[in-house]
Amino acid sequence: MQHAEARQEDLSASREGRGRPATRDEVVVARHLEKRFGDFVAVDGIDFSVERGEVFGFLGPNGAGKTSTMRMVSCLSPVSGGELSVLGMEPNAHGPEIRRRLGLVPQDDTLDLELSVRDNLYLYGRYFDLPRREVRQRVERLLEFAHLSEKGDEEVDNLSGGMKRRLTIARALISEPELVILDEPTTGLDPQARHLLWDRLYRLKQEGVTLVITTHYMDEAEQLCDRLVVMDKGKIVAAGSPRQLIDTYSTREVAELRFGVDENAAAAERLAELAARVEVLPDRVLLYTDDGDEALRAALGLGLRPEASLVRRSSLEDVFLRLTGRSLVD
């Protein structure tokens, strides 16, 4: 209950805070949106709206319902209940028109592994009935954008995971869409490949493209998203900017203390007084406080001797832990 109220405040705060005019351009609007597979409810009545030009995130663990939501927004999957409007149109009635103006980076790559990088882009462009010459020009531009110019004639099967992901993103851009949906664009990539991708996505945002991105990496959400919703078990449990979410659901800093495997719980009891909130994980105790160093000193003052300790700023991981009692990535 307390969370629901906070969420309302978040949303209004985020809108006013950005000083937007009263008539916002909403690219995606969902009201009580539902997706059911038989009796199973994968998306359980969610509300959100994405404004033109922003990067909007869905953060949540596996099975939260992120992909199901993205597939409905991309008009690939019929809406089971509630309302959804994409680019001002209703997906069940206007799928092809919407998809014409939307780029999708699906969670699983759907590249033709037996064709070259260039041919994959070219053929995708032709699905949109774009003229041959125009597609060829766009292909060269996008190869450069995706850092794949040297790989143009390579069979896709020979590319690394990061290159395939960049190619999939380039492919989604061939129709110059105004809205791009990215379902876990960096899952499975090494840090360097992820940073390169983030950089490309940032450039897209600067060009005014609206991005909707799902991730289960909190650092990705924090880096990229203007606003995001935290999803768990088919529901939205919080919404706002990364900063607002952290301010609302966590403290400024966190002190992490590792004790022996069986000693964390006992230590936590003695630490309860020292922080606004204490969380016990299997391998460590988290002290939520505005001054982590101070809390750590106090803990040592109590005679506790952790095997290891560190002080860090709060992250969306802490927000998720607070909201669901679980870690984001197991």
Binding site: Y124, Y127, S175
Partner: protein, 273 residues
Amino acid sequence: MGALAAPRPSLLRPGWLRPYRYFAFRYKRTWRGTVTSSILYPILYLLAMGLGLGHLVNSHLHAVDQTGRLGGVGYVQFLAPGLLVASAMQWGTNESMYPVMGGLKWLKTYHALLATPVRVRDLVSGHLAWVATRVGGASALFLAVLAVFGDVPSPLGVLAVLVAVLTGLAFAGPVAAFTATQENDAALPVLYRLGTVPLFLFSGTFFPIAQLPGWLQVVARATPLYHGVALSRALVLGRVSAPAALAHASYLVAMATLGAWAARRTFTRRLVV
């Protein structure tokens, strides 16, 4: 954007053309092999049947069969137009088994298509249009080889290519519909062995179905291959009876239409979830 935003499908740019272009482009990778086999296959058959089996059959017919169960033509001339259509069945079937499974599951290229303005119905008609092109091309080559060997006595024989395409589609639709219901490819070889191979052998390609026991004749008449073979043979040998030809052609068109409809249904069920 504006001016270059993708246009809507229209008469000049039908929806099926988008997936079709992709299938055609992909074919560039393998066309040499398929062209070679559609020339070699009939040559090998004609040699084996003409020099070997045909010889035996013909001398046997002369000795015992004055009534002309093969319609009074040599065995190879009897066989050739049937073989053309039986091959069309195999091409149509093959194109709708592993390539469809690949698009749905292995390469997931169908999923890529459907994230664009392409609709499921465009995908299905694009697939079938492509199968028609493949079967048409291969059958034309096949027929050309037959003509070179002197086995196409009637100019009407040219129309046998159309019959081959129709027969190919009469199989491609239902088989694609079936493939789209399968989680993996385990059932595909079974379908081939229990479906295609018996049809190949018992639908009047190698011998008139009058040779079969009565109940099997009924079964044979119910399959598209029988009608394709009968129509193709009538055209190539120049012995067309209009009502029979119309009946055969109608059957093939009906089967192809039904198959396309079924494929659209199963593709939708599989892909739109």
